[in-house]
């Protein structure tokens, strides 16, 4: 190889990199021939992927314009970061699952394309069957930007053995007696910890960092982190201060919950109760203790329920938006939605019944499904989300850190927090 040729090759390689960097991220809408579709998901659960692949195979058989559909699992913990990094690197997927907390960012940024025209025009789709409370988060200016494929309410899983061992009443008895509320639950948790040394109640995945999961607690006080329009911080409002004061006392005085830096896994029998989504019931297969699933306890402001949601949208920069929309319409049609309901509570009115869910959730009883899932989905408040969620979440996390110490001044910490995040909310 001559030097001249070597230099020419190097120059070509460098300019190619520059060009790639400059054009990175542009889709190729004008592709000829059959296309390949890719959907990023955060499940790597084999039965889930098997079901997706079966649905995709049926679709491929009837659609020669699509030659391949792949489901690309990204790790749950870093899902959003991995997804946006792919988009930055010019490797955007055609379809993507989106967390409820990222919904505002994805829906408002123009990253996703509207779906309602395609869905409504697909014969047999029954668009009006979708429950409005499930599509609300994913709708902007009357356009639906993602299909709420999973709407999963939070409930309380209970280790009945551990409660009995501590000499406490079980939640079904408390519900009958009308005393299933937070003050009772915290008292029960404290007693379990005192008498057995195990943890009382655990808000799963909260760990003093993922504070949005604490919404399953402060919902009982009808507390909200910010106003409905998202402009005003309400972390220092009376309901929130009351809720956080109770939570703080529950953690540091009553020791009803494991403190910061302490772990206790309900599913291995280390805690009497845990707040989690019903999809976690799968972890109880083969559990060595008697368990139950009940709705969230009432707070001073009455009954409430909280739902976590996941949507699936078509990514504009994936390039094959037409084919992707068409596949999504197939993937979520009534027939396939019924199949997906085995793992993901469906957003369709006609399918969201306890009997229906029981067929595919053998671990759960009808009344558990009815009280927690069906009612939860219809009445639930979605976990808090906001534009610029990641940055806001990080600021709130840092702002709440001083609260998780034994002698914290709750109101003072929350006032400081509001001072700190207000500029972001007002943006």
């Amino acid at each position: 190889m001559s030097i001249r040729r070597g230099l020419a090759t190097a120059a070509a390689a460098m300019s190619a990199t520059l060009v790639l960097a400059a054009c990175g991220g542009e889709g190729s809408e004008g592709d000829k021939g059959p296309v390949s579709l890719r959907m990023t998901v955060w499940t790597s659960n084999k039965p889930h992927l098997k079901l997706f692949n079966e649905i995709a195979a049926e679709y491929l058989a009837a659609h020669p314009e699509v030659k391949e559909i792949t489901f690309d699992p990204l790790p749950f913990d870093s899902y959003s970061t991995a997804l946006t990094t792919q988009m930055t690197g010019g490797n955007a997927p055609d379809l993507a699952w989106v967390f409820e907390t990222d919904a505002v960012d994805f829906v408002s940024s123009g990253a996703l394309v509207p779906l309602d025209d395609t869905l409504k025009q697909t014969s047999g789709y029954q668009y009006e069957d979708l429950i409005p409370s499930t599509t609300k988060l994913w709708t902007r200016d009357d356009k639906l930007y993602a299909y709420p494929f999973s709407t999963s309410p939070f409930g309380v899983f209970v280790n009945r053995d551990l409660l009995k061992q501590a000499g406490r009443q079980t939640p079904d008895e408390l519900i009958k007696a009308g005393t299933w509320d937070w003050s009772t639950v915290l008292a029960e948790g404290a007693e379990v910890h005192r008498s057995t040394g195990k943890a009382g109640i655990v808000i799963r995945d909260f760990e003093y960092k993922e504070w949005s999961n604490a919404a399953t607690f402060w919902g009982g006080w009808k507390a909200e982190p910010w106003s409905a329009d998202g402009k005003t911080c309400t972390f220092n409002s009376t309901p929130m201060v009351d809720a956080m004061t109770t939570l703080h006392k529950g953690i540091f005085e009553d020791k009803a919950m494991p403190g910061p830096g302490e772990t206790a896994d309900f599913f291995t029998g280390d805690a009497a109760m845990t707040i989690s989504q019903i999809s976690r019931a799968a972890l109880l297969d083969g559990a060595k203790f008697e368990w139950d699933l009940v709705p969230l306890p009432a707070g001073p402001a009455g009954d409430y329920s909280v739902i976590g949601q996941a949507g699936v949208g078509v990514v504009k920069r994936g390039g094959h938006t037409k084919e992707a929309k068409d596949f999504l319409a197939y993937f979520t049609n009534p027939e396939n939605s019924a199949k997906l309901a085995a793992y993901f509570p469906p957003p369709r009115e006609s399918q969201l019944t306890a009997e229906n869910l029981a067929k595919t959730n053998p671990l759960l009883k009808n009344e558990q499904l009815d009280s927690v899932v069906v009612n939860g989905v219809k009445k639930g408040v979605v976990k808090p989300g906001h534009a610029g969620q990641a940055e806001l979440a990080q600021r709130v996390r840092a702002g709440l850190d001083p609260l998780w110490t034994p002698n914290a001044n709750v109101k003072g910490v929350l006032d400081d927090l509001c001072k700190n995040i207000s500029p972001l909310l007002e943006k």
Partner: protein
């Protein structure tokens, strides 16, 4: 390459072969030129590699730092110096730089002194010394994330370290949740991970110190401390320079430990510059501002390295 090894053109012209009356023609391919060409040929692959994978990305990062880049919307707009103005106005940045400095200073001081201490101890000719050397070096080859996760468990409030302290009647702090202890924990985890590498470098340097110098000093009546200070330290000072440059540069690039152990908390107490940069770019989607922060990091690393290089004349002793 185009140089043919058998070519005789570079041979010095032999006097007899030049026709009389014609000035001797200097051949183009002199030995010097040929050597230069060979030299360039040898470094070309590395040069190309650095150009494509180091210089080009640095140039691109500089370009990105002049743009507002919203990944979700796909916007890429030129904003001039806005990101740099934001850098100056960033209320979090002083705190972040403070954490970064604290981490670097803590790490360098702890790491180098522990590495030197271990090297001196392990430089004895005793049976079984190689076992200890292997033990102290082994964390260097362990996966960083695995190492950090295990430490994460040990440092929990109800974890192994506090359990151990409890048996001797001490109530340990909540290591990763306290502002001071979180930083200390991250530093110690990192020191134990990498101290073996510096230890080996020091060990090699110590074994290169001529024995006769010690003997002469002993004859002159010098004690152990004087021998260490006046013979060992000056003679291993080039290695101290090397290890301190590597450790400082490495300390400014710490990421995985922070991501696994504290995610930058509590508050901003362990948010070092690289972690802050990652948050801004990859979590908050401010890629333009993230690029600006990485330019700042580049300048800091460059300045520190140049400073050390300049200061070396004051304290590094080269035998030759």
């Amino acid at each position: 390459m185009s140089v043919s090894p058998g070519s005789a053109v570079a041979d010095p012209p032999s006097g007899g072969s030049v026709p009389a009356g014609q000035p001797p023609r200097r051949p183009f391919w002199t030995r010097r030129r040929r050597d230069q060409l060979a030299g360039f040929a040898f470094i070309t692959p590395q040069l190309l590699g650095s150009a494509v994978f180091v210089l080009l990305p640095i140039a691109l990062v500089f370009r990105y730092s002049l743009y507002e880049w919203n990944v979700l919307a796909g916007d890429f707009t030129y904003t001039g110096g806005d990101n740099y103005t934001q850098l100056l106005d960033d209320a979090n940045l002083p705190e972040v730089l403070k954490s970064t400095a604290l981490f670097s200073v803590g790490l360098v001081v702890l790491n180098l002194s522990l590495a030197l201490l271990l090297a001196v101890l392990l430089n004895q000719r005793l049976r079984g010394m190689t076992v200890f050397r292997t033990l102290f070096f082994s964390p260097v080859v362990v996966s960083l994330v695995a190492w950090t996760i295990v430490w994460g468990f040990l440092l929990q409030n109800n974890g192994g370290i506090n359990g151990l302290l409890h048996t001797v009647g001490i109530d340990g702090p909540n290591w990763l949740r306290g502002e001071g202890t979180a930083m200390l924990s991250v530093i110690v985890v990192q020191v134990f991970k990498n101290v073996g590498l510096n230890m080996v470098l020091f060990l090699a340097a110590l074994q290169g110190v001529p024995k006769e110098l010690y003997e002469a000093a002993r004859v002159d009546g010098a004690g152990a401390w004087v021998r260490f200070r006046s013979i060992t330290l000056p003679l291993i000072s080039p290695t101290i320079l090397l290890t301190s440059v590597i450790t400082i540069v490495g300390s400014l690039q710490v990421f995985a430990q922070i991501a696994v152990l504290t995610q930058g908390g509590p508050k901003l107490s362990t948010t070092v510059l690289v972690y802050y940069l990652y948050q801004q770019a990859f979590q908050f989607h401010h890629f333009g501002y993230g690029a600006t922060l990485s330019i700042l990091l580049l300048l800091i690393v460059l300045a520190l390295t140049v400073l050390q290089w300049q200061m070396r004349k004051r304290w590094v002793f080269y035998e030759s």
